[in-house]
């Protein structure tokens, strides 16, 4: 009987514990995310969704447990991992005194991205003409979000960590975001989406994990007909084609 090799993990957390002072942000998370998989991370406020994404980005160190991203240790291979991971967080990481175009250009060049991708990415998010030359200090929250998304899509990293990606976006931008996620997913980008708006995101994800109290308390497959068997065990890679 031929054995099938498991798909490689893009993100692997084993007994991950992260602390902020003495407060546990993650209290023993086991999660395997396959290359090209899209996972919805859901849970109530303060459950640890944002912390989980920041740990995966290498911004919060683990107190115990193991983490590998794209097969690399994010602490020892920090630069290599970060250049292949993109985090869309609550903050937009923009400099108010730079224009939209300058902000995108700086972020893309700093991460070693290709400069030729900047213009198409800006155009994708409607950041052209006068808006491209506008100082970031004059942008609305939604426009700042678009700039952050332009940086992400210009860089096009192998792992996307999206924290409440739809927050602050208008209907057209939400549609653009859904298209970008679908396109990234189709090109084997691994995506983790932390969101309260499960309904909006469920259609984009292969699997949902629920974070409660810094742990993964439940896991379910998405996009599977109700009659099909869709069971997973914690830690197992579930990729719905």
């Amino acid at each position: 009987m031929a054995s099938v090799a498991p798909p490689p993990s893009a993100v692997s957390l084993r007994g991950a514990v992260a602390l902020s002072g003495r407060f546990p942000l993650l209290a023993g998370v086991d999660l395997e995310v396959a290359v090209g998989e899209t996972v919805l991370v859901e849970g109530p406020n303060g459950a640890g969704k944002t912390s989980l994404l920041r740990v995966c980005a290498g911004l919060i160190p683990l107190s115990s447990g193991r983490l590998s991203v794209l097969g690399l240790d994010p602490v020892r291979r920090r630069t290599a991992v970060r250049r292949r991971v993109g985090l869309l967080s609550h903050a937009s990481h923009l400099y108010d005194d730079l224009t939209v175009e300058e902000n995108v250009r700086f972020a893309v060049r700093a991460s070693g991205g290709e400069v030729v991708r900047i213009a198409p990415a800006c155009a994708r998010w409607g950041l052209t003409g006068r808006l491209a030359r506008t100082s970031a200090s004059k942008l609305s929250a939604g426009q700042r979000r678009r700039v952050a998304l332009a940086v992400l899509t210009a860089r096009w990293p192998e792992v996307w960590l999206l924290d409440e990606p739809h927050a602050g976006l208008d209907a057209s931008a939400r549609m653009l975001l859904d298209e970008a996620i679908a396109e990234a997913s189709a090109s084997q980008v691994t995506i983790l989406i932390a969101s309260h708006e499960s309904g909006t995101v469920e259609g984009l994800a292969d699997r949902a994990v629920t974070v409660t109290g810094g742990r993964i308390s439940a896991e379910r497959l998405l996009g599977v007909p109700p009659t099909a068997e869709a069971t997973t065990t914690t830690g197992a890679v579930a990729h719905v084609a």
């Binding site: 967080s89 990481h93 700093a110």
Partner: protein, 223 residues
Amino acid sequence: MWRDAALVAGKDLRIEGRSRVGLSQVAPFGIVALVLFAFALGPDRQIMAKGAPGLFWVAVLFCTVLAVQRSVSVESADGARDGLRLSGIDPAGLFLGKSIAVAAQLVVLEAVLAVGVVLLYGARIEVPWLIVVSCLLGTVGLAATGTLYGALSAGIRVRETLLPLLLLPIVAPVLLAGTKIWQAAMSGGTPSDGTQWLRLLVIFDAVYVAVGVILFGPIQETA
């Protein structure tokens, strides 16, 4: 490393060029400090000229604190520091880039303050090259230590008050050496009176640039 340094320095200088905080706030602050020192010393121009070297460098140190705080605060808004960390930029390049940007601003400020010292205190510069070299070497040391300690204090809520407390004692050798060199350059002393202090500045610069290149990454991750 140097590509990242040029990128970061260009970004910081562009931001400074737009906001003009250095020209509109830090430089006037330095001039005000010189004027206040003059008030404190009284109308005797001989006393003022004698105290000019030390007062110049004290004013430079105050301006350095402001320039470094500005450099740190640029990265504090809207999670920009996290953005830099996430970009995977070389920490040594980041350190050098931010140091270069601070140094460029300090050179301009020192030129303004030097003119102020000559005009306000009636200081006579007799060995100009010694003044120029001491300013350049002092600037490198101040920018490197300032950037390093700015990163140390970056994640702390009380960084505005903590930074001067951390930085000023560390840069005391720059104040001491700079003052001695200026005294040698102004009082008709020989250049050799100042060269031993130039050596101190070179060593100070080499130590703090090396420490910054090596430690900036770990500091940035833990601050």
